[in-house]
């Protein structure tokens, strides 16, 4: 188990090395192997993998348990934590627990509303919002206190992550919303899928105008579209995903057996374009149910396996102004 201070993701962000994160969606069953199998596919290629927290409001194995299983399999986890299902007592409890078992990264978000999941009849909690939870996490870590004021000793030492969607209205407020998360304590941000580089570049420009990329690593979300049906599902059933017309035309313009290849090519091009943007700290690859394509995707985009760039705590910083922990 790596100590949080020497986490791969932290080291990548600190050194300015292009970071790679991916996603492991936990299973619905009591099946440890489901995590191990995905971890095996990703291990050599990612700095860390997000373990989602009942994604899409569908009940799954808990993100803390998935994080422990990933660590046992040699993959550094990013434990996701949504405010949808827990009040501030349970959220802080999970954050303390994550620190105690050595989970090196936590990522806070509000989460999809229960109406989207398998229990639309569930009570939506939302006691805190995502900004308040990020703020709470930093209070716990840096000041060693709970919201109640009670001390937390020893304080947990995870890296604090958050999310942002540069493509959802109000577009002109999105960089400022990220600024709120950074002010609250976020040290890295993963974005929603980037299919529209134009909007992303404009948002990134606003982010750099505010100087946020120097305080917080911006990890751009990417993923290959496998089928036209998958694309339609993302457009209609997953809140907040924006797929521009030119992408839709491109994927509809090929025969159905070629869509997966075209989707891969598109994703490779997107990663290449993101690597050209100096303020982008890395990519977050979301390939639900097709984790096996992640190595090929990264290799084709010229992102080397992590084994080739083994992190070192003493690695010199080539991005001096980057003060992410």
């Amino acid at each position: 188990m790596s100590s949080p201070e020497q986490g791969r993701l932290r080291a990548a962000l600190r050194s300015g090395r292009f970071a790679v994160t991916a996603e492991i969606g936990p299973p619905r069953g009591a099946d440890a192997q489901a995590i191990v199998g995905k971890a095996d596919l990703l291990r050599d290629w990612v700095d860390a993998a997000n373990i989602t927290d009942n994604q899409g409001s569908h009940t799954r194995l808990a993100s803390w348990a998935g994080s422990i299983l990933a660590m046992r399999s040699g993959v550094e986890p990013v434990m996701q934590l949504t405010t949808r299902d827990r009040n501030r007592i349970a959220l802080q409890s999970d954050l303390i627990s994550a620190g105690a078992v050595g989970i090196p990264n936590v990522l806070m978000l509000s989460g999809d509303h229960p109406t989207f999941g398998d229990h639309p009849d569930a009570m939506p909690v939302f006691d805190l919002d995502s900004v308040q939870l990020i703020w709470t996490a930093r209070l716990m870590r840096d000041q060693g206190r709970l919201l109640s004021g009670k001390p937390v000793r020893p304080a947990p030492q995870w890296l604090i992550g958050a999310v942002e969607n540069p493509f959802a209205p109000p577009l002109r407020f999105r960089a400022q919303r990220m600024a709120k998360k950074v002010a609250a304590g976020a040290e890295f941000i993963q974005t929603q899928f980037v299919f529209d580089l134009e909007i992303f570049s404009r948002w990134m420009g606003e982010v750099t105008d505010l100087g946020l990329e120097k305080r917080c690593g911006v990890i751009a979300g990417v993923g290959p579209i496998r089928t036209v049906r998958a694309m339609e599902f993302m457009q209609s059933k997953v809140p907040g995903i924006h797929i521009p017309d030119q992408v839709v035309r491109r994927l509809r313009g090929v025969t159905s057996d070629q869509v997966a290849a075209e989707g891969m090519a598109l994703c490779v091009e997107t990663i290449e374009a993101l690597r050209e943007m100096t303020a982008v700290a890395g990519v977050h690859v979301m390939a639900f149910g097709q984790e096996h394509v992640v190595p090929e995707l990264l290799e084709r985009a010229g992102v080397p396996p992590r084994t080739a760039t083994a992190p070192s705590a003493t690695a010199g910083s080539n991005r001096e102004d980057h003060d992410a922990r």
Binding site: T136, E164, A184
Partner: protein, 160 residues
């Protein structure tokens, strides 16, 4: 709305009224019910008792299905619709549009502290006039304060 708000600002008269109302439960109930009716009709107020309206372009964040007080979630549709109720405009899109028109977008960048759930159903005006709302939001990024998320209002502050 911002002009109207000036009338509501704490002053000796409404401070006196707030204290009087808290001493008389029946008056307090009537007053609270009146606030509920007025603000319910005007803003869809849910009576959280800790009013954020002056800092959100008078779009009530508690009408958001996730009750987000620090800005929109990532699920807003391309047309500005709510993730949960697509036919309704996201309250934060409304807040952004209004504050932009008024030149007050910076209001939305304030950090809103967690609310106190014991205040549901109580009059936010009575709280406001007595200065209990002063810590609801902050311009501070929390780096210089010792108990950054904690409201100063909470009795005793940080405890061992």
């Amino acid at each position: 709305m911002y002009r109207l708000h000036r009338l509501l600002r704490p002053n000796p008269a409404n401070l006196f009224l707030a204290r009087l109302l808290e001493r008389h439960p029946r008056l307090n109930r009537w007053f609270t019910e009146a606030e509920k009716q007025v603000k319910g009709a005007a803003f869809g107020c849910r009576m959280c008792g800790q009013c954020a309206l002056p800092a959100t372009g008078y779009a009530c964040p508690m009408t958001c299905p996730k009750q987000l007080r620090n800005g929109p979630c990532g699920g807003v549709s391309a047309t500005g619709g709510c993730e949960v109720y697509p036919d309704t405009q996201c309250v934060w899109v409304t807040a952004y549009e209004r504050t932009e028109t008024e030149g007050r977008v910076s209001d939305l960048t304030l950090l809103q502290r967690p609310i106190d759930h014991r205040e549901w159903g109580k009059s936010s005006w009575i709280n406001y006039w007595q200065g209990r709302d002063e810590g609801l939001w902050t311009e501070d990024d929390g780096l210089t304060r010792t108990h950054l998320v904690l409201t100063d209002l909470r009795a005793g502050g940080p405890q061992e």
